[in-house]
């Protein structure tokens, strides 16, 4: 088990969110979309220029810029 940032996840890698380290309106929005401690996510792909990143969560697909994904810490299997 290791904690990494979403930016460093591989394609199709799965993980569980451990922390969302941003407050305010952006933090609220990220949480509202389901990205909160305990949520299972997997990286579905990245845009041609490696940014944004597409994440699979709660049966839907969500895209985030790397700058925003950097607030999200994930626990992954080694």
């Amino acid at each position: 088990m290791a904690k990494i940032l979403v930016r460093n996840m591989q394609k199709h890698q799965q993980g569980v969110v451990t922390a969302v380290k941003v407050g305010g309106i952006l933090g609220q929005r990220i949480r509202e979309m389901g990205l909160m401690p305990g949520s299972k996510i997997s990286v579905q792909g990245r845009a041609p220029l490696y940014d944004p990143v597409a994440i699979r969560i709660m049966g839907g697909t969500l895209t985030l810029r790397n700058a925003e994904a950097d607030y999200i810490e994930v626990e992954v299997q080694d």
């Binding site: 609220q28 979309m33 389901g34 792909g45 041609p48 490696y50 697909t61 925003e68």
Partner: protein, 734 residues
């Protein structure tokens, strides 16, 4: 029709809300705007049993936090209008996330029915939802529907009407937000109730939640209502915030969101939702995405699709556009033959008919463009375009979704800024959207092309294609750089976070496409039509009045008589009978030439001409003489006008923009023109004030007059500086 109810439709984007709305109201709907914002307000009527239901389609939202205009609009609507019932449409295939909004509605206490949509999609994905159990646990009626096919809609409306009849009082739901917060909430709620703090509009518990979430909008309203208690609440929240930060490094708003999802999970876990298929399995939509957003294939497919949209819009709309033009030229001809010469006739033809024709001529183009956008949007592809292009456009302070507007406006030379400006509606971030709609007019639209082609043909004929390509690139570079500058100055601000959902691919419904296309086209006709008619008449007046003085008039009459007097009686007779003789032709030629010289004199003497002449002292720095100035003034109305006005100014009479050979020759031979001046004029035409139809659309889309003025003044000043730069450097080098 005894009883009337107000019903609001609400739900996440992509949950099928619009499909349901269209299925319920069909063509009995109309679109307006919420005051002060550009969010569409759709209303319609539905009748069920003996009830007449007035339906409002609220914008698609993920939550009730004031994150975007849409959310603020939806929330204010609920509070200010207190609909009798809210139909919350929920995507059964994405239930957990969708219920987050439902949970917030329940916290507010609005009378509600949940429409569990896309039961068919959920079943295909192996998700089994027990709607009866869900209803029981939530304490809210739940109706399974398939909005696309209309299945379950009638039952849904019957249930909704029953709720509207019986639940007149808002009953806020209380869920637990954790021990620490719960006890504070009870305290604060008592304070709010004791002071009757905003309790006319909002439930006390909801106000407390909003203060805990540090919701700026609600707090500023609280400050206006009762600053004392508002400050007290904020103080209490600050204390608990600090405490939570130190003890569990969390914040009240995170805690609240956490417990909302906790509440939802606890319900779903009680046998409400079953998976019959492994959820990590790839769905069809994911398989399509493997190719369509692939690192290599993705951009190529995107270019092909965008090029296809462009081709479709401009190629197939050409035929109906031509019909429109034919109709208006026929109308002009009819008026011409029916009325006697004079100002009335001139105004009707040049002012009214050309003006309305100019607006309606765009209609087929707009319809085709909106059809393509509706197709891309409803199928889910537009979100993928934004996803793939975001990295590039973000560099310039724009958004991935901006690409569409730029392409349509002429990103591949020959679009139109009018649909381009309107296409910015798909952008959800306000600053990025403004920067996009202010810079798309820099693209080389179809009306600028003939003017550019004329000048390139006359002065740079050796490398036509290369020059055209260079000008297309130049337009992109300038538009993106100006967008960057705007985002660093007037539209300064953080990039709006790109938290965008990629909805599953869906086949759009035909009726949905038609409704979307028509409603947007109609909005264009209504708005642009009224503005343009007025401006077109003003411009006609400027180029007509005050006309020639009586002395000048006398000079021309004398010259005309002199020409006629020179002719033999046979020649005059030939002219009258229409017999073509060599002498008659020469005579005709001489008369035409005189008429053209007369038009030139009248134009120079007109208000526009006087403006052009008086601007010469300034415009000479960019190399423009009065003739060019008048043409450019005319170009404020529409860029095509530049050619016809130049023609008149050079005594060539009316010049057809499609056949500019004689004008090109004249310019080439004119000693006042050279390559440097031509390039300076090209640069000016590319970047100066957008045409009036575009300005009208900018005003409409930006929501304020000042942006229309800004577009005209800023672009003109900017273009003039560039042209002056080009001309001054150019004349020194060459």
């Amino acid at each position: 029709m005894a009883v009337k109810f107000n019903m609001a439709l609400a739900g996440n984007p992509n949950a099928g809300k619009t499909t349901l709305f269209n299925a319920l109201t069909g063509s009995r709907q109309h679109v307006g705007n919420y005051p002060g914002v550009t969010v569409d307000k759709k209303e319609g009527v539905y009748t069920v049993d003996d009830f007449s239901v007035n339906l409002i389609d609220l914008p698609g939202i993920y939550s009730l936090s004031p994150y975007s205009e849409e959310e603020v609009v939806a929330r204010d609507y609920l509070v200010e209008n207190r609909p009798d019932v809210v139909v919350n449409i929920v995507d059964a295939a994405n239930l957990e996330r969708n219920l987050y909004l439902s949970c917030q509605f329940m916290e507010m206490g609005v009378p509600m029915v949940i429409a569990l949509n896309m039961m068919d999609v959920a079943a295909k994905r192996g998700i089994d939802v027990h709607h009866k159990k869900l209803a029981k646990l939530l304490g809210v009626p739940v109706c399974p529907i398939v909005a696309r096919s209309g299945k379950g809609i009638k039952e849904l409306m019957q249930v909704a009407v029953r709720v509207a009849e019986h639940h007149k009082v808002w009953q806020p739901l209380n869920i637990s937000y954790g021990e620490e917060l719960d006890s504070l909430i009870i305290d604060l709620k008592a304070k709010v109730e004791a002071a009757a703090f905003m309790t006319c509009d909002y439930p006390a518990s909801w106000t407390v939640l909003k203060y805990l979430e540090e919701d700026d909008l609600h707090i500023s309203r609280g400050d206006d209502d009762n600053p004392l208690i508002s400050k007290e609440l904020q103080k209490e929240v600050a204390i608990i915030s600090e405490h939570m930060e130190q003890t569990i490094s969390s914040a009240p708003d995170a805690m609240v969101a956490d417990h909302r999802y906790g509440f939802i999970k606890s319900i779903l876990r009680q046998n409400v939702m079953h998976y019959t298929i492994d959820q990590n399995r790839m769905h069809t939509s994911d398989k399509i995405d493997m190719v369509v957003t692939n690192r290599f294939a993705g951009p190529i497919i995107m270019l092909l699709i965008l090029f296809g949209v462009y081709k479709f819009t401009f190629t197939y709309s050409a035929i109906p556009v031509e019909w429109c033009e034919l109709f208006f030229s026929w109308l002009g001809g009819t008026v011409d033959s029916l009325l006697a010469d004079g100002y009335m006739k001139s105004m009707l033809i040049s002012g009214v008919i050309d003006g309305i024709g100019g607006v309606l001529g765009f209609v087929p183009l707009i319809m085709f463009m909106f059809f393509c956008i509706a197709l891309l949007e409803d199928s889910g592809y537009l979100a993928r375009v934004a996803y793939m292009m975001d990295r590039i456009f973000r560099t310039f302070g724009l958004h991935g979704s901006s690409v569409m507007a730029f392409i349509i406006s002429g990103g591949i030379a020959g679009g139109c800024a009018v649909p381009g400006v309107m296409a910015t509606r798909t952008l959800r971030s306000p600053r990025e959207r403004m920067a996009t709609l202010l810079t798309v007019p820099f693209m080389n639209c179809g009306a600028k092309l003939p003017v550019l082609a004329l000048l390139i043909g006359a002065f740079f004929s050796e490398n036509k294609a290369q020059y055209m390509f260079f000008l297309t690139l130049l337009a992109w570079v300038v538009a993106l750089l100006v967008a960057k500058v705007l985002r660093m100055t007037l539209l300064r601000g953080e990039a709006t976070p790109f938290v965008l959902e990629l909805p599953p691919y869906r086949v759009p419904t035909f009726s949905g496409l038609m409704i979307h296309t028509w409603e947007k086209t109609w909005q264009y006709i209504k708005k642009a039509g009224t503005v343009i008619l007025g401006i077109s008449i003003i411009l006609w007046a400027m180029m007509t009045f005050p006309g020639l003085s009586s002395e000048q008039e006398a000079v021309f009459t004398a010259r005309q008589e002199a020409i006629l007097g020179q002719q033999s009686p046979e020649g005059v007779a030939g002219l009258e009978s229409g017999e073509v003789t060599a002498e008659g032709r020469a005579l005709n030629q001489a008369l035409l030439q005189l008429a053209n010289v007369r038009s030139e004199a009248a134009l120079r003497h007109s208000i526009a001409g006087q403006i052009g002449t008086s601007l010469e002292s300034l415009s000479q720095y960019a190399g423009f003489d009065w003739r060019t100035n008048i043409a450019l003034v005319g170009g404020f109305a529409a860029k095509e006008v530049i050619i016809s006005t130049l023609g008149t100014a050079y005594s060539l009479g009316e010049v057809d923009p499609e056949a500019t050979g004689s004008l090109a020759e004249t310019l080439k031979r004119d000693s006042g023109w050279n390559k440097v001046k031509a390039f300076s004029v090209i640069v000016f035409i590319m970047f100066y004030a957008p045409c009036f139809v575009t300005v009208a659309c900018i005003i409409k889309e930006a929501g304020h007059w000042k942006w229309g003025w800004f577009a005209m003044a800023f672009n003109t000043a900017f273009a003039f500086s560039l042209s002056t730069f080009v001309y001054q450097i150019g004349t020194r080098l060459f």
